[in-house]
């Protein structure tokens, strides 16, 4: 009898893992499928420029304040932690380089990515999921309009265009915040800080930063729209779709970040 219970328990765990794996594979397949459909729709370019501009405004205006706050504060924290110590050890000339490389290569883009996922990705997923469970997407289909082309195209294009702008602005604000914090904490002059920034940063860093931002913007919006599109079962389904969009986007941009780091800096 004891053995029977153990076997049942093990079987349940196995089934749970199997269900998770199947869900993972089907979600991945769905995202790839929608991605391909998005590209197929681009040749007809069905979306009006007005709708893309509306989505760009939504993307930039609503995300910029929180993105600037997060990236700016991260930079200030880093500068506060390292500037005093480095100046004491005679490395004051390297503070600007350290902060700017950190901002442009990593923190600016990844923190902006996290902020965009929280603000825009979740909003896109819940918006499209609500349309799905209230039959609005069925209505689009019945009216012979492709819902992937109609809904995804302006959102994904806006994400891909706006993300680099948000990242460049937030990274610049981050570097500025680092300069101010370094000056206040350790008395490091602005000139010394920015001399170090020019010395440390190069075009390669900036190019990689922009490439990363473009890919993050594309991936976040595609995943968010895809998860929303697959929603079912009413309000609970909208919540699950939003959670899935956020988790998948987080994991995707960390994996992308790793790939960029390995491919571009080693």
């Amino acid at each position: 009898m004891k053995i029977y219970y153990k076997a049942t328990y093990t079987y349940k765990i196995f089934r749970a893992f199997q269900a998770e794996f199947e869900s993972f594979v089907s979600t991945l397949g769905r995202i790839v499928g929608y991605g391909l459909e998005f590209f197929c729709g681009l040749k007809n370019f069905p979306t009006t420029v007005k709708e893309i501009l509306f989505q760009c405004a939504r993307f930039g205006v609503s995300s910029l304040p929180i993105t600037l706050s997060i990236v700016g504060m991260t930079s200030v924290i880093v500068a506060m932690q390292v500037a005093g110590e480095m100046v004491k050890q005679g490395g004051g000339n390297y503070v600007g380089m350290l902060v700017s490389i950190l901002m442009v290569r990593e923190e600016g883009v990844i923190m902006s990515g996290f902020a965009i996922i929280s603000m825009i990705g979740s909003s896109l997923a819940s918006e499209i999921a609500t349309m799905r469970v209230t039959e609005q997407i069925d209505a689009i289909q019945v009216l012979h309009v492709n819902p992937v082309h109609y809904l995804f195209t302006p959102r994904v294009i806006a994400g891909t265009i706006m993300m680099p702008l948000v990242v460049v602005i937030s990274s610049a604000v981050g570097i500025l915040g680092g300069a101010i914090a370094s000056n206040l904490v350790s008395g490091l002059s602005y000139k010394a800080f920015f001399d170090s920034v020019w010395f440390g940063l190069n075009m390669h860093d900036l190019n990689v930063c922009i490439m990363k931002a473009i890919s993050f913007g594309f991936v976040i919006t595609l995943i968010s729209c895809s998860c929303g599109m697959a929603a079912k079962d009413g309000a609970k389904g909208v919540g699950l779709a939003t959670t899935k969009a956020v988790v998948w986007s987080f994991v995707a941009i960390v994996i992308l970040d790793l790939i960029f780091a390995a491919a571009c800096f080693y």
């Binding site: 007809n44 069905p46 209230t134 039959e135 069925d138 209505a139 019945v142 009216l143 012979h144 309009v145």
Partner: protein
């Protein structure tokens, strides 16, 4: 000819939802599909409109557009009434750019007048009552002059007076468009006021087919139970 469905079968996860369903609706006629919740009524509409794939069987139509009115209207809540109604004309690949803004305004005004809602083009769905939303969804459905109109529980959630109004508009649209219409409902008033013929489904099977008068007269246990809304009878609620 309108629409003809032959031996339609649909299963979900090995559960048979529709089993060998056949019926025909001529142009300018209304078929009411009735039955308890979960009997597969809405599935028939989704199969005809192409939202679901059938397992087997045949759906033959006269051609032209198939329009569908959804149970809770399914208006696009980010668009105003004008954009909702003209959506297909503005976004459909084969219609995009075919109409000028002035023509779109005229077509939308015509359709709104047909459903008794002139002058609400700039309002958003959230500013309209349930009955008005339903009538806007009627206007959206007929904007492409469809040959077949499908109504999924058009009076669900409406008060009796709004329901009567909606039923009148279903008949009016039939007369104006001469389309073949299918109305999924479980309300006897909708059947009496709109239908030319009735199909009753239970557990995926057709258990009655005839006119509304025959439905009321018929003495089979299924029709008696439905007409009298009796709990006891051959049809059990899931």
């Amino acid at each position: 000819m309108g629409i003809e469905v032959k031996h339609l079968v649909k299963t979900f996860d090995k559960k048979v939802i529709l089993d060998d369903i056949s019926f025909k609706v001529d142009d300018g006629k209304i078929l009411s599909i009735v039955g308890f919740s979960g009997s597969g009524k809405s599935t028939v509409l989704k199969l005809i409109s192409g939202l679901l794939e059938k397992d087997s069987g045949e759906i033959v139509t006269t051609g032209g557009d198939i329009a569908m009115v959804f149970q809770y209207s399914a208006l696009f809540d980010s668009l105003n009434v004008f954009d909702n109604i003209s959506f297909a004309l503005q976004e459909r690949k084969d219609l995009r750019g075919k109409y000028t803004q002035k023509e779109l305004r005229r077509i939308v005004a015509e359709k709104l007048e047909l459903v008794g809602l002139s002058g609400i083009e700039e309002k958003f769905p959230s500013e309209l009552s349930g009955g008005m939303q339903k009538r806007v969804s009627f206007a959206r459905a007929i904007v492409t002059e469809p040959k077949i109109i499908l109504y999924d529980e058009p009076t669900a959630g409406l008060d009796p007076i709004s329901s009567t109004l909606i039923e009148d508009y279903i008949v009016r649209l039939k007369n104006e468009t001469h389309a073949a219409s299918i109305v999924v409902t479980h309300q006897m008033s909708t059947i009496r006021r709109t239908a030319d013929s009735v199909l009753m489904l239970y557990n995926g099977h057709a258990v009655f087919e005839g006119t509304p008068e025959e439905l009321c007269r018929e003495e089979t246990p299924y029709t008696r139970q439905f007409v009298e809304a009796a709990i006891d009878g051959p049809m059990k609620m899931n």
